[in-house]
Subunit: 752 residues, 2 copies
């Protein structure tokens, strides 16, 4: 097989019904900005400025609008208020506009005579290529080739090029390059003012002021290989240059568009306009080739640290690379004011908000490929601690309570109260992640400098949130665990264990600071106004918090009241397994039934593997898997890992397929509304924790592997950052090897 | 005390902050239409056409808009769709407009020099009177006297009169009479088209077409005692006549406005316009005096059947008359396409929808004062059975499920799913009410003709809704009982008992029809497609449905899981008892705490008194009352009844005061958003079931009393319709008397 095929996401032949899926899948980005894989010329019958009121709804079941195409341009941190849905990331003006016209025929993938259509997203460098043959009504045969990328090195820049080669015929061709603000976010217009302008030297600009007061400046320079005589053609919501030229057989017209994007939220000094001008001028000085080389070098370094190589399973190879590509792209390096939103900045769904996905699903990838990025993701939580304090206060509690759906300031944005009020484990998940980071990196200073504030403030919240029963046990009542199909359970095993861990670590952290770093302790005590007896309260609550399971029962109950829920006859209810279970049952019935949305007890066992016996793991998997609907994209990877640990290769392989399909399956239009970025992290975990059997850094000082490769996998290799060093891991069906990079072999063992 | 004071609701002196309360309290109506007690001239700084998007929210806690004044004109059945709140009764154009102006000074209660302001709502005939002295800037002293009523005999007519007497000074006075469509319902404009017109003979009309296609025609005839030279002064949303005249000291100007209102939903034939013209012409022929006499006669007959007389407690006397007034007014006689909405058509709150209030809180009053009205209320449920079928289907169940908040077609309108999905007892409450009606009236034919359809269809729903536990018991999981502060309980005692009753009666009804009325049975079986074995399924479910209590426990648990909820330290949470408890606790905490919104177990005991021992009643009252917040207006009356049954006179008296305050307390602005019509029915029940100790017709063939009059009550008397006869009940502190009307004494006993 051609090596390229292991790096290319491909679309061969255009199908309108799949277009929105590819728009999501082909999302390009560089951390600073992201743009969906839409066509430069847009799409017929798919207006982007339709205004409507979107209502809070069940995301699994909601039928999204815009069936054919939704463009998307996102800059993390640029958000606005929706009257019903609360804070949402703003879909910014569309910067990619490049339209062609032959006579009265506008180039359009649906309406023109197009053949040989093909698109490739090259995962190595994030460039998107399109090519096709256009036979115009006027009789020209035009070979059209597009490419574009957002520079990973110069993150304010978008570089586009189109080449039209006349294979036969001749005629005039019109070109229009545009920056368009006729864009709505979930049906809302968030633009308070739009100013399109012509700029010197075949340039156009579009300055946009959002309702929230953010300023976005887009500046495009146009170049053409033929004289096209650019003329401004603005509208109130669009900056545009139009031009035309005459082409004969054999001619080639190349149009380049170089766009600089700046906002008032950038960390650089200066006006948005000045900075965009400077970016553009610098880029032009560098020239196309150098610009590309800088960009490609960045991607190369990222792939060196992050690539996973699989021999013997090309589908898995390509799929894991697609996941890693989106993980790398979604992460804003060195900006700790944002994290990675649930759809990986590849769609309007989930409104650009931050969930527990970051800590539990994404963090391990970054911990072991790019620890600095992991640190920044956690600093986002530190930076939004005040928002978490306001959340706690709003509910009448002391301390800090992280939002189920976090705004960029940390405040709760979830419009459905059953999640916002009851899915409280997020607050403990963040503490788990802080420890995971510290243990995987050895960055102990992070604990005393940042984490301790989160620990103490969240411990205060938990102490207020706990109720006490007659036996003197602390309880967490009315809780939604990871399984979102049971919103009001009593003592959810996952949640209570995570909270207990969180409180235990708070006490341990304060104990150890007081013992070993008295200055640090004194500073924290003063900063956080730690009162006498508070630590004892944390300790008591940690000790007495009830766990609804013990070593005597093999099946760990999901919650104290789990047994009281109704059994579901899946065969009679879920009559079409190709669609989510949620489509076949009312929420009312769902909420009282033993039908899980996703892994809950198994998620717990994955995070605390050392606390459960193999019998418990096996019995719980056997019990829960058949009653789990996997309606959440977070479920399959966890199940795959557990199946792999249990040596159930067939099941693990089936879950691997499921994980791969979540975004990649065109038939299921998996990526239409954005990338399931948590599942991307899940695939990485399935391979590293599941198949390579890496023992989590939470529970192991050194790299320990217990590999179980899927059938057919001849070799699996990847690099791993671990406590300040990098290692090369190579797993063969019968042996494995851990090699320190820039050093010799450390460990070599045999697969189990 | 002047006898009038026992019939007049009074407002002495105008206070802007109380105005909205009096608007609600002084609502006038005749079943066909209702109008809030707003001023003819409107109110400064209180625009009625403000547009905004009202969101679904917690009604107890929501801060209503329009702090100063909200006019309201409602015709039951004229509804429209709100994009977020679903179906709402439309606030129709304001027909009362009569404005006066002296020079550039518009008459306004806030801005003019007003003295001696007084309003009286005469409960005997529903007329509203206003009088005050207006000293104009130009130096006139005008004694102003207003009166108005909606005719109870000619229900399409509104009759208004204003008299201005010049006590001193002289000058010109301008009059404007208007029909205004600048009205919004909860911020929404539901009017698709408004056509204001001048009509022959000093008349104006306003035809309004709603979004839903309903047509409302208002036609007003103006008359003045002085020549005022009426001139049309329409705007696109207002029909108006303006005129002016010169007045000297001693002059009296009388302006009369007679308005006919028709809609396309009326049961009469003909266009709305023709019918309004006919109404008006007939009214003018009858003349003012005859019009009034016809109206007053109607009210007189209603009071003869419904009045309760209390000697020794004038406050209670006036209060119960206010309640009865609103009950009579709210009821649309002989129109079984509507029922009585939760705010008694006296405000926009609750959107004009129908709740369980109708069956449980209002029905007893109508059963025993106006049985035909009770029958019509139940026929509304029969007529909306198809809506209930659609509700069941929507959830995936067979049969019929009544809506928690019913539209006029029976479909669920509640925008908050925790109520809509989980407060299922309404479906059984309706069956309880059907039986209550049949037992109180002896109208057995109603059962086989109408009720059987509801019985069978709701039984089918219950059989699908029940889950089965390992012990073979039927369970109702995830249920909100009457106590709306616990939405997800297991086997709520009230709900399960009501459902068991409902299923038992379904089986009994089918058994008895098959035994005694084979034709009726065959017709029902065919109509309802009753399958073999279905009745056995009903019987089995009725038998096996679990009740979470038995005779061994004195405290009846509210639900199987009630004990697992958290205790609340009320003293530390509820720091200001003058405001609802709900203001002091988050919904999240509330939903897991033992803090009841309202009577739940006690409601059960009130409806099934014969099934509980006195020890259970006493212990349950002692346990639940202290943890009940009474945040619902349905709670106090039930508690008062139980306290009275237990001989706890002081507590019963305190609940009586609470019940009275709910609408009447100006300080609490009780009636601002409308009348708590269920509490009006509750007051009637507190007096009849509580103080007179009437044994419910559900459980007694004949009238049985066990009176316990409150301290100070010297005499209580009322009439009672009972199984086709009417009785006069007289209760003295030590004796009581039951006298058949148009007949001799039947029973005379001694109070216990």
């Amino acid at each position: 097989m051609n090596e390229d095929n292991l790096w290319w996401l491909k679309e061969d032949g255009y199908e309108a019904r799949l277009h929105k899926h590819y728009e999501g899948l082909f999302t390009q980005g560089n951390g600073y900005m992201h743009v969906r894989g839409s066509f430069e010329e847009g799409c017929s019958d798919a207006p982007q400025d339709e205004e409507y009121l979107r209502f809070p709804d069940n995301v699994t079941l909601e039928k999204p609008r815009h069936p054919k195409s939704k463009q998307g341009t996102f800059i993390p941190g640029i958000v606005a208020q929706h009257p019903l849905l609360k804070e949402e990331i703003v879909n910014l003006p569309y910067m990619l506009g490049l339209e062609f016209r032959s006579g009265d025929e506008a180039l359009d993938m649906d309406r023109c005579r197009i053949s040989g259509y093909s698109r490739r997203l090259d995962l190595r460098d994030g460039r998107l290529h399109r090519s096709f043959l256009w036979e115009t009504k006027e009789g020209m045969q035009l070979k059209c080739t597009y490419s574009r990328y957002l520079s990973m090195a110069d993150t304010h820049l978008c570089i586009q090029q189109v080449q039209l080669e006349v294979l036969a015929g001749e005629g005039r061709l019109e070109v229009k390059a545009a920056l368009r603000a006729d864009v709505r976010t979930n049906g809302m217009n968030h633009f308070a003012r739009v100013v399109p302008s012509a700029e010197p030297g075949d340039c156009i600009s579009l300055e946009t002021l959002t309702e929230e007061g953010n300023r976005i400046f887009m500046l495009s320079a146009l170049e053409a290989s033929e004289a096209v005589n650019w003329q401004a053609g603005h509208t109130p919501v669009m900056a545009a240059l139009r031009g035309e030229c005459r082409l004969n057989t054999g001619d080639r017209l190349t149009v380049s568009k170089l766009t600089a994007v700046t906002t008032d939220r950038d960390m650089e000094e200066g006006t948005v306009r000045d900075r965009a001008l400077a970016q553009l001028s610098r880029a032009r000085k560098l020239g196309r080739e150098q610009l590309y080389n800088r960009h490609a070098d960045c991607w190369k370094r990222k792939w060196q640290a992050a690539d996973i190589r699989i021999k013997g399973d090309d589908a898995a190879q390509l799929s894991v690379r697609a996941s890693i590509y989106h993980l790398i792209r979604s992460n804003r390096e060195e900006d700790d004011r944002v994290a990675i939103c649930a759809k990986g900045y590849a769609g309007e769904a989930y409104f650009g908000r931050y969930f527990w996905d970051t800590e539990i699903n994404l963090l391990p990838f970054f911990l072991h490929t790019h620890p600095q990025a992991a640190r920044n993701l956690l600093l986002f939580r530190y930076n939004t601690l005040d928002g978490a304090r306001r959340n706690a206060q709003k509910y009448g509690y002391r301390g800090a309570r992280y939002a189920w759906e976090s705004s960029i300031s940390g405040e709760e944005q979830c419009a459905n109260w059953q999640y916002a009020d009851h899915e409280i484990h997020i607050t403990a998940d963040i503490v788990y992640a802080l420890y995971h980071y510290v243990r995987a990196t050895g960055d102990d200073e992070f604990l005393e400098r940042y984490a301790v504030d989160i620990l103490v403030e969240t411990a205060r919240y938990w102490c207020d949130r706990v109720d006490w029963n007659r036996e003197g046990e602390g309880e967490l009542l009315s809780v939604m665990g990871p399984d979102e199909y049971l919103p009001f359970t009593r003592n959810n095993a996952f949640t209570n264990r995570m909270v207990k861990f969180s409180l235990e670590q708070t006490v341990a952290c304060l104990d150890s600071l007081e013992d070993g770093k008295r200055d640090s302790y004194a500073a924290a005590a003063a900063r956080l106004d730690i009162r006498p007896g508070e630590r004892e309260r944390f300790r008591h609550t940690a000790e007495k918090l009830r766990l609804p399971y013990d070593s005597r029962s093999d099946i760990v109950p999901q919650s104290d009241d789990f047994d009281s829920y109704a059994e579901v006859d899946f065969a009679s209810v879920w009559t079409d397994r190709s669609r989510p279970f949620g489509h076949f049952i009312s929420q009312e019935r769902n909420y009282r039934s033993k039908a899980l949305k996703q892994a809950d007890v198994l998620e717990l066992m994955m995070l605390f593997p050392q606390e459960f016996t193999r019998a418990q793991l096996k019995a719980s998997y056997a019990y829960y898997e058949p009653i789990t609907t996997h309606d959440s994209s977070l479920s399959a990877a966890v199940h795959g890992i557990v199946a792999s640990w249990l040596g159930q290769k067939e099941a693990a392989g089936a879950f691997l397929q499921r994980v791969m399909d979540i975004d990649l399956s065109a038939e299921k239009k998996g990526a239409a509304e954005g990338i399931h970025i948590a599942n991307c992290g899940g695939l990485w975990q399935l391979i590293v924790y599941g198949f390579a059997g890496l023992k989590s850094a939470m529970w192991s000082e050194s790299i320990e592997l217990e590999p179980r490769l899927p059938e057919g996998w001849e070799k699996l290799s990847f690099t791993l950052a671990w406590r300040g060093e990098r290692y090369q891991i190579t797993v063969n069906p019968d042996t494995y090897e851990v090699q320190k990079l820039n050093g010799g072999n450390l460990v070599a063992g045999t697969t189990v």
